[in-house]
Assembly symmetry: D2
Homo-oligomer: 370 residues x 4
Amino acid sequence: MKNTIGNLFTVTLFGESHGEAIGVVLDGVPAGIEINQELFEHQMFLRKPKGTISTQRHETDEVKMISGIFENKTTGAPCCMLIENKDQHSKDYSKIKDIARPSHADYAANMKYNGYQDYRGGGHFSGRLTAPLVAAGAIAIQLLQSKGITMGTHVLQLHDIQDDAFSSNLNQCKEQIDRINQLEFALINEDKKDEMIQRIDDARMNLDAVGGVLETCVMGMPAGVGEPAFDSIESRLSHALFSIGAVKGVEFGLGFGFKDKMASEVNDEFEVVDDVIVTKTNNNGGINGGITNGMPLLFKTVVKPTASISRHQNSVNFKTNENVDLVIQGRHDPAIIHRARVVVDSMTAITLVDCLIERYGIVWFQGGQQ
Amino acid sequence: MKNTIGNLFTVTLFGESHGEAIGVVLDGVPAGIEINQELFEHQMFLRKPKGTISTQRHETDEVKMISGIFENKTTGAPCCMLIENKDQHSKDYSKIKDIARPSHADYAANMKYNGYQDYRGGGHFSGRLTAPLVAAGAIAIQLLQSKGITMGTHVLQLHDIQDDAFSSNLNQCKEQIDRINQLEFALINEDKKDEMIQRIDDARMNLDAVGGVLETCVMGMPAGVGEPAFDSIESRLSHALFSIGAVKGVEFGLGFGFKDKMASEVNDEFEVVDDVIVTKTNNNGGINGGITNGMPLLFKTVVKPTASISRHQNSVNFKTNENVDLVIQGRHDPAIIHRARVVVDSMTAITLVDCLIERYGIVWFQGGQQ
Amino acid sequence: MKNTIGNLFTVTLFGESHGEAIGVVLDGVPAGIEINQELFEHQMFLRKPKGTISTQRHETDEVKMISGIFENKTTGAPCCMLIENKDQHSKDYSKIKDIARPSHADYAANMKYNGYQDYRGGGHFSGRLTAPLVAAGAIAIQLLQSKGITMGTHVLQLHDIQDDAFSSNLNQCKEQIDRINQLEFALINEDKKDEMIQRIDDARMNLDAVGGVLETCVMGMPAGVGEPAFDSIESRLSHALFSIGAVKGVEFGLGFGFKDKMASEVNDEFEVVDDVIVTKTNNNGGINGGITNGMPLLFKTVVKPTASISRHQNSVNFKTNENVDLVIQGRHDPAIIHRARVVVDSMTAITLVDCLIERYGIVWFQGGQQ
Amino acid sequence: MKNTIGNLFTVTLFGESHGEAIGVVLDGVPAGIEINQELFEHQMFLRKPKGTISTQRHETDEVKMISGIFENKTTGAPCCMLIENKDQHSKDYSKIKDIARPSHADYAANMKYNGYQDYRGGGHFSGRLTAPLVAAGAIAIQLLQSKGITMGTHVLQLHDIQDDAFSSNLNQCKEQIDRINQLEFALINEDKKDEMIQRIDDARMNLDAVGGVLETCVMGMPAGVGEPAFDSIESRLSHALFSIGAVKGVEFGLGFGFKDKMASEVNDEFEVVDDVIVTKTNNNGGINGGITNGMPLLFKTVVKPTASISRHQNSVNFKTNENVDLVIQGRHDPAIIHRARVVVDSMTAITLVDCLIERYGIVWFQGGQQ
């Protein structure tokens, strides 16, 4: 379904970096939900480029609610949310029209669209399209919160600097989630912030860029959600997460850490605590057989270094089939990982709301008779 | 879509470990394809448990073609392929009916299905259901081969023993693929085989189990396949790969290796070689912006140690909500990774055929007028 | 999705008239439903050819439950139901291989499948494939009944002989539904039976065939089910109904009768009766704006005369591109409409269960904790 | 999928009558198609209310291309097309907020959305939402034309006044299609125009409304498109057609006319004419077994009289559960059928492009390398 994701709660994405506007249509929205404007704006704020560690392109990212909202409540009809593009530089993109920026979509897009793609600023492939995803995600996060489900994502690693991981103590973990959700630069151990910021700034000074690893935790998911085969929670979440441009790996629970372990070391034994069934460890990240088991969902995504750098790079002109020497002009992000965390939360929330509606029906989320 | 995967080329999976039979319905099959029986049986053979390093459950895994095949050619109608269950032990499963085996789906399934799931031998969650997937995959692999697309998967790491990675030299890589596809225990460096077998046997002797990492390479994919947003090749493949029971992580190209690299170290520069546009490195695993760029698709999946082990484990009875001491009886696999490789190939092929049909149409694959 | 229908409650159809077997995979089945064997067999019985007014091909149509049922209850895993083909005549079909039977799928299929289709007895296009649909439908009907939703279909018109329509009195209508569901030849006014049977027999004697119109009524559907745009109840139902081979028209409520009416004559005015909101008339067949309004769903389907007749007909050989004179050998149905009624009920039930699960969730239907 | 239709070529609809704007996202658009502005505007013009026989609400219906178009060519990225709402009367809708207009969606919507729906002017159910469908349809029609496929729809019957049907002579039929596509009031026999206009005007004077029957013909569809079971061409088209508000019946070929015919009267015999296989009659409307047979697609849709009339009608207040006497204020359409014809063409084209892409791939339609 190309630019639409979801079965019952669906997001359709459109727009290009230098077009008129970018946006989403969110469908399958339960009626009668009053939009939490504070949460909405907070999420949009978290994604916005800020300071010297992000691109200097400045957009207001003001979201216009085109449809599906009436008197600040959802109506049940599809919500189109539009963000106008304003800060488009008038520079002449046509000279880079046929040049493949390394690790960018330019060449692949040219092969797919026969040269008709909007090449300005990455077009439909621009990271700017994560803004409407965050807008859609804000509504999804609000829906989850209404059912006691909370989530958070932090920068577990930036280049070789590591943050602490989520605590295995559920109460502490809950506090960590609440805290990082308030932070612009989401860290469990905030002492690492200066070092990370410095590393990003160094990258910027070196006309380079860095990536890292995000860790996400979702608490409060009821057990029994997901499907055994092709719609495992892992399948659904990874599908959504890999739609984020720079994500090149996803792992659940111990993930690649399973590779050199014995089963006896990593099996999650069950136990009854206060009449509730839990697992002693959570190496499976809250998912058994593709289905939630009631423990926190835990997963990591790797975000590669931003491909746009201002250094000299070798490349090709795919129209003339010639090698060229390339310097990418423009305003680059030396890191996006600290902003990508809110995109990860958004795609996660969108996916989980869809899974929950499949199980409990849209009426579960819907507001009572007005 | 729960037990159906794919948009145009779809696989619907059914069956339980101890039911009548297991099987798939493969739909959207191009007509006029003569089934390559040798390939088909070879793939089924690769998945079968063999020797002491696998479960002692022995099934013939004979595939009955119920529909969609006529005079050994596909008709275009859905292919139902059925594998009867024969080696079901008559033991009394009812005593473990309400016990949650650690890291198994039992408890999550109980929460999902309210206790009505077929609990015998894992039921619909059994690894045995990968057999029909391999049958479907064999047809998909054949379709890819008809377009010059080949693939292979090897055991890159088993516990802490490492195999060589695929060569970055395309000709050598092609040879490696051809070679490992003939091997029961797929390794690029076959010198590692004895050590790995020994490690598995040790695990078995210790009533334990091991996992590892699989590396997959697909050569010959045309550039321009995949979608920018939610149907990126990474999204589609990961969705399929995470439907394999023991897979807990998927990464493309350098994957988690990107985390501590600078962009300048890992960007894949383009160059023209013999009039063909290639990248000098392939850290992005043949995918830019979600779309194939003509380079080999490269990805890794981590396979966790088999959860079924015969050791004492703590667990719970989820009916009585009591802690129990558990020893899982039965015939276990001390490792499945060497067999999982063919399941990975199968799910990969199924996914790629679907993506290719979306772009080129079913007529691209179809046999000429009879 | 070709041979799969439904969003959450899905039916995947496979098989050919003269293949090994025909069947369905029913997925998204709520767990813990005890199969009502009596209802199940009754539905299968209603579809079976019987007497001189149907084909003389005799099949036991015994349904084998391959998966998804355990101890006669649904497990939540996909139900594969298989019906073996037994009464295949060994006659040589190859001589009619390239002949297009008028109003049959032969020629269209040849163009689609390049000649590789299984041409024996209509192959995958055979009316015999309605048998597994009825099996799937029986489970759907049972699910609806568990929520107080009942339905029935009768032969409103056969050739030019008319039955009475469903009563606009809801109590009487309910009784009519209950009564016709017990009848092999479903009529509200059973006095018309002999005449209709005679008309079918006459057609048979004349080597000809007749069709007619079916009227369906569904009572008990809650108001508020369906979607405003592309998933209107009319869209969903018609999609399902037009998948039945001989159906060439579907109308809801007054349907084509609206064409020469003024709005003031046909608008359904609302009124409050016993504190319940109802409409005085039901010209819209229980659907406003694509959504149920709580009144009975009412629709009609036209079933064309069976295309297989034993008369001389002109046709072509599509391999040689020559005109031919054709007499179709074999066992034909002079009418199928009296059997099609149960297929209409089945497709209706399958569709409505899907719509209800989307709204109320699968847990609404599921059995309580075992 | 609620407000999204299509498998590979998809339309997502959003907006409300009195909201900010209405629009669509068209996805799966082949790249490199230069928008035919003349055709585009002509289609929009045909749908617009004009003269005394339509609502006096006047909208410019100017379509803003938000995305997916670059230098007037499609880029392959999703096309968002937006139409701002301008002529919204500021009248107080709140007094009719809880009143169910007869044969309107108000009550059903209230049951579905618990009273949160945007009730102003029908909200998301407004006929105004057909405007963006026509915009999407114009692009689909252009795609079909690029492959030699043309279509047209005319008012076969308005109230009890009949137009001629499409000619069975293919050349004449082609001319008829070309001619009616130029007409504001599409009739094959234009002599009927004055009488029909008069009938609509009479309805208007009587505060009433009329409906009728549309006949559609599509020429040039290749044989072999469509699917045998659930994705028959009839299923796909009817699904799309029943998403148009006032459509309550769809029939293919002879449709309900089959009911009192013998097979020998209506079977479509094949013959070879000038080396091409055709049928002598086209009672099946160009579809056998759900698949195109190369003959013109022929179908009829019944459009009920517009439900909005200014007469006194009985109704209910669904909040207080009381009977009320209702007079609907506002600007009504005494007929919409002459404008609905272009919506039928649009939904037909959207559906057929989707079916064709499934068979031939998106590359079939795509522009050559730029």
